[in-house]
Amino acid sequence: MGFLKSALWALPLWAICALVGADQVVGTDPEAGLPFWAWEDGALEIRLVQRLPDQTRAFFIGRGFSSAAADRVARSCVFQAIMRNRAQGGQTPVLGIDLTDWRLDAGAGVRALVSKDVWDAEWVAAGESEAARIAFRWSLFPTTQELRGGDYNWGMISLGVPPGTRLDLMLSWTIDAEPRGAVLRGLTCAPEEILEPKQE
């Protein structure tokens, strides 16, 4: 078993998952009516639901952001993330999430997600209101989170690539401090829907 664990650490986490042929789940979220990509592994469930740029714009303008700031977020490929520890019992196993470890590959090199702190620095520099910044902070998925049995959390994540971009997202998490990983392939940012005038 020790040898196996040593061998596992030698490989990237997403390569391990590819080796075992674990499947991602893709479908249409019944509530949002938009595509989702999900990964389930025992106690873990991660679901990422597309958000239309206009949805995100409306949400943040409604929370007091300037239209320019709301547009910046809306065009940064935002997903609604839901992460759940489906294990029964309040103690174990503990699911750990650290979004700073997640990576995406949209064909131009591997990069990190846009963090809350990066956004917040931008809002401070742009003079966005304190109330808007509070709403923003709480509406994004926490950068780090521990979920015990029965817990779940939800929130937006922003990938920092243009609307319509297709990418692979490398997820990582821990179960009782043991690292795990997976790749969601073919994740697609919602396109910017521009209504063209109909030609008679």
Partner: protein, 177 residues
């Protein structure tokens, strides 16, 4: 020829090993649980006002179990669990168990508008500056704590629950002195 075969064998071992290491625990999809808070630290104090300007102080609840929820009107799971919190409040308030839901970052008008759609009769103090929520160990909304009569954090639930579930309420009742 040998090298690819060995590589394939190694990969197979790794794959089997991964399956062993990632062995799925027993799960139940809709399990209702509360996680005990290690060491039961004291809950950070607060003194807030509800949308009508009435004071809501943590100290006033000392001596009985208290459910403290953090929420916002724009948070779908927060809205979803509110009716069950109202039912839980109706079930346990006569037993001396308190329930309050602290709104994060919104003003009185916004919360009053929400109350017109989802009427509840437990206190909804406003944490407009988010000073209180940031002093508590809250990572996301909704998060709910259960305090023991000494004002210590006994249980925590991250994400929504059906709060009128007897399993959860019995855990809260178990904190009574």
């Amino acid at each position: 020829m040998n090298v690819p075969l060995r590589l394939l064998g190694a990969l197979a071992i790794v794959a089997v090993g991964t399956l062993i290491v990632t062995g799925a625990p027993v799960v139940a999809k809709d399990s209702q649980t509360l996680a005990p808070v290690p060491g039961r630290p004291p809950a950070p104090d607060f003194d807030l006002k509800d949308p009508d300007g009435k004071a809501v102080r943590l100290a006033d609840y000392r001596g009985r179990p208290l459910i403290v929820n953090f929420w916002a009107t724009w948070c779908p799971p927060c809205r979803e669990e509110m009716p069950s919190m109202q039912r839980a409040h109706a079930a346990v308030s006569k037993e001396g168990i308190g329930l309050i839901a602290i709104n994060v970052g919104e003003d009185a008008d916004t919360v009053a508008q929400f109350l017109s759609q989802v009427p509840v009769d437990f206190p909804l103090p406003l944490d407009e500056s988010s000073a209180v929520v940031t002093s508590w160990p809250v990572r996301g909304l909704p998060t709910t704590f259960v305090l023991d009569p000494e004002g210590r954090l006994a249980y925590v639930a991250t994400g929504g629950r059906e709060w009128d579930d007897r399993v959860l309420l019995d855990l809260v009742r178990g904190l009574k002195q």
